[in-house]
Symmetry: C2
Subunit: 208 residues, 2 copies
């Protein structure tokens, strides 16, 4: 099969342009997000001023806010990156593995603190809460799907509804974020996660 006619067409440049621009846009977006994450981690949500965002991203405010409507949008986009990564892990290996990864990747802890700082916004700003919950839903859905799958395989206890188990795991995850974000020692936490994992598992039938 010969290459598609557009492949070597003299006006190909015009056709390919949008793809190149998209690559460029994606790279620029990544550059902004990486810089913003460092900025939030270092200065906190309030402390991440436009000037500091310019410094950590290496871009002008015009460039930054061409890609993201405002600081909130940047923040939600970063949370979405996290959720997507955690959802991938949760879908394959479950929420407890997401938590184990947090224990073994301390370099993400700085950013986690910023997630705590926005709790007041979540409580008092309905628009922000709505945008936040859209991105957070991805992780919850992935975790719920895996729980159901594990249940159908007979690996999850039957005496407690999946919704309760899911809220339980979510609550422990929130606790872990708060714990590591405030820099407390993680002694015993591996053993704690073993206990958490065990408490959602189906127990072997007793030999009556």
């Amino acid at each position: 099969m010969r290459p598609g006619p557009s492949r070597y067409h003299p006006i190909e440049g015009l056709i390919v342009m949008p793809r190149v621009s998209e690559d460029h846009l994606a790279a620029r977006r990544t550059q902004i997000l990486d810089g913003a994450r460092r900025c939030f981690a270092k200065f906190g949500y309030e402390g991440a001023t436009v000037r500091r965002l310019e410094e950590t991203t290496g871009l002008s405010r015009g460039a930054i806010f061409h890609h993201f409507r405002d600081k909130d949008a940047l923040f939600i986009a970063l949370a979405h990156e996290d959720s997507r990564r955690m959802a991938d892990t949760a879908a394959e290996q479950g929420l407890v593995q997401v938590m184990r990864n947090m224990l073994t990747h301390p370099e993400q802890f700085d950013w986690l603190g910023t997630r705590l700082e926005i709790s007041r916004r979540l409580r008092t700003d309905p628009d922000f809460r709505r945008e936040w919950s859209i991105q957070a839903a991805e992780l919850t859905e992935a975790a719920a799907a895996r729980l159901e799958r594990q249940r159908s395989r007979g690996r999850i206890r039957e005496d407690i509804p999946t919704a309760v188990l899911l809220h339980y795991l979510d609550l422990v995850l929130e606790g872990l974020v708060a714990h590591v974000a405030s820099g407390q020692p993680t002694t015993h936490l591996d053993a704690v996660l073993d206990l958490v994992e065990d408490s959602v598992r189906r127990k072997p039938a007793s030999n009556i």
Copy 2:
């Protein structure tokens, strides 16, 4: 027994003065703490400016900082009040009951958000972290003492060290603080706390 001579002594006024002053000081202290709690709850840690503290306490900055060295000291004193109340409950009824009380007293949630906002300080400021951990230790000690007592009564599972169970309950408590402080719905959380309670309890021996 006749009253102590100082009781009706002409210079009694001078002697009693300190006691009256202490009552007065305690009342003033309470007034400041109540106002400061409302101020932190409403405006957050950073937003609780000296001017706003004056407004919510109804006292001058001179009066406020006569009783408390600075805003940090005020904040630690408030956290200490919480810890003491929670420690009383934990000593009698355990940490799970402390969490159940949080679910039934939503009016305390506003303040809990402020505890999250300071996580960055806890991570980056050793002096602040030290003062914080002194007040937090009271709750942990009360909870640990009750766990040991329950264990000696055969009510706690034997296969997991008390320290791990304590860290487990602490982690769930941290999760609950984060959850309610961000105003998320508490659906299923009663059932989640039943599960948490069950997972530290000794299981009845199986009938082999």
